[in-house]
Amino acid sequence: MNQSSAKRHYLVRSLILLGFTGLLAQLILTHRLGLYLAPRLHMLSYVTLGILFMLTLISLRQVFSGATAYDCDCEDAHKIPRSLWRSVLLYGIFLLPLSMGFLMPDQILGSDVADKRGITLLSNDVRKLAEVTGAANTPASGESGTAGNASSHVGETNAPASPQKKQEAAATLPALSDAQIRQKFSDGGLGDFYTDMAVSLYKQPVISLNDKVFLDGLTTMELYAKEFAGKEIETLGFVYRQPDFTKEQFVVARFSVSCCTADANVFGILVENKQGSKWAKDSWVKVRGKLEARSVDGYDMLVLKADGIETVKAPKDPYVYYNYDTPAGN
């Protein structure tokens, strides 16, 4: 291999490294890194940016002084591709993420991906979703009473249970002291974290299920579904529908990201509102309403009966994260 060919390779490599440095720097400076990585990996990315920058400089130095840095008779070992075809392949695959990063616009994950992933609702059981929507159709569209079809026991627990729960919750709420609320959530052996979380959520007059507590709050309410029935909550997410939903139903959903978006999962609450079909899929909405318990096959599931829905702008950080160490951060 001659010197000029080696230098050409070093030049291409330097440009690729420069590209990666530039892409990462751009993502960080324009605050778009959150669209790709969870916050806990951001620090690592800053360090990576520094290292990539240094690698770029050293690679550029090789272009100009390649001969002195690598003055040896062992060129094969430097893994420089031997043919043009191989070079095109090798550098092509490095250029692909760069061109995508610079040329293609960012997109927040939405309903298309949620379809592929399957969504986790407040019931913690996706397969039950069809049954719930099936059961909900009857009491919601017609008069409540018996569902009177195959899933009869669903209809039967459904309608009478929820008003009762509501009254109970409304009646007991003001009288409870902190200790009593704590008592309410301390059984079940689910650990202090969820008890703390439940208490801090329960004390709010209108539970604000914001970005910080979305996932942990959802898990908590799902664990204590009975206790949270009848509480009022407010939350924000994108509109997601499945083909088997009624016109009044949609899910207000969020993607959770634990490291990168490849591990994203969809979580959400089933919302029911008379004008539910007004909101387009993937549009961002703020929803406020009362939780209502439904029981399906022995699972308690919470449905949000919305009385206020408004369109909002997508948040800057569209994804939500588990936040185990700060239970009562809000």
């Binding site: 050293i58 893994k79 991906v113 592929k116 185990y324």
Partner: protein
């Protein structure tokens, strides 16, 4: 035959990727390619970009970590030391390899360059293989994230670690008994000699470490990128429900979960959260198969292994790990 396939593997993958890229450009070109000066991208391709960049951005720090760690071993750890620290007796050496993850908590992208370097430095192959398989699971970071992800079945973290240990140890023993030939790629020997020549000539020079880091970045990077790209495509086009529907009997559900773990190529620190999202449609022992198989083998690490070891050895490794994970997790009392 096998050698030939291996030789052309890079070309084959590259040709497929280029073909896909061409198809993509023409396909999206026929749709409204320009509208004003704005490009119109189909939503799926944008999702694909999100996944691809996301996996790449997540993995690059860990690959660099592995590369620098391996450069560190190269510069500061002598062969003499590696030989002295590794127990002579395989009965002690194999468990030693299995628990090395507690000393070096690296995930599955970072571990391959490290293991390669350790084997080059004289660590016996069977110990290296045990570390390669157990390291990304049996370490505090991964086990604690598993514990967090399965808040309701905390013992799954224990089962994960234990099953991984058992499988890694069995593969280690198999390697000890049956692998006689040096499994590192042809030319790796001359590379070692070459790197040592550099190390002698330029000892203590930081720039040398960095130069080698650049070499390894491009060397490992191409496999990582190819794996990430395929994984991103699958994430956009294959629905999890389709996969879940295949897995109805115990054996098929285990195979489906292992297949998903392989194709999705998740980081071993994050995969427990994905497994938890499957807990409603799969039995715990299938989840265990997912949790154990993914960090040991996946699409991107297989490509990275092929860049390090001989093709025949990688095939044997993949086959034995697959069979063992299936058998052990089927029998495992979860």
């Amino acid at each position: 035959m096998l050698v030939k396939v291996r030789q052309f593997l890079l070309e084959i993958i590259g040709a497929l990727l280029l073909g896909a890229a061409a198809a993509w450009l023409t396909a999206s070109g026929s749709a409204s390619w320009f509208s004003g000066f704005q490009f119109q991208w189909s939503g799926r391709w944008l999702d694909m970009k999100t996944f691809f960049l996301s996996i790449v951005l997540e993995a690059i720090p860990f690959v660099l970590l592995g590369v620098f760690f391996s450069a560190f071993i190269q510069t500061f750890v002598t062969e003499e030391q590696v030989r002295r620290w590794t127990p002579k007796n395989p009965l002690i050496a194999i468990p030693f390899g299995a628990f090395l993850g507690f000393l070096f908590p690296v995930c599955e992208c970072a571990i391959i360059p490290v293991v390669r370097r350790l084997i080059q430095k004289g660590m016996p192959l069977h110990v290296g293989v045990v570390f390669l398989l157990a390291g990304p699971i049996v370490n505090p970071v991964v086990l604690s994230s598993t514990y967090l992800a399965f808040a309701r079945q905390p013992d799954l973290a224990f089962h994960r670690g234990a099953a991984a240990l058992v499988i890694a140890v069995i593969v280690g023993v198999l390697t000890l008994l049956f692998i006689r030939k040096n499994p590192l790629l042809l030319g790796m020997e001359s590379q070692i000699r070459h790197e040592e020549a550099h190390a002698k000539a330029l000892r203590g020079k930081l720039s040398m470490t960095f130069s080698h880091a650049i070499d390894e970045f491009f060397d490992m990077g191409k496999f990582l990128l190819a794996g990430a790209l395929i994984s991103a495509l699958l994430q956009v086009y294959v629905s999890r429900e389709t996969l879940a529907e295949i897995g109805q009997t115990p054996v098929t559900s285990h195979l489906v979960m292992m297949g998903m773990a392989y194709l999705f190529s998740l980081c071993s620190e994050a995969d427990a959260f994905i497994a938890a999202s499957f807990s409603h449609s799969f039995h715990a022992s299938s989840l265990l198969a997912f949790l154990v198989f993914g960090p040991m083998l996946d699409l991107k690490t297989t490509l990275m292994l092929l860049g390090t070891f001989r093709f025949g050895f990688v095939v044997k490794l993949v086959a034995s790990v697959t069979v063992l994970v299936l058998a052990v997790t089927l029998l495992w009392p979860v």
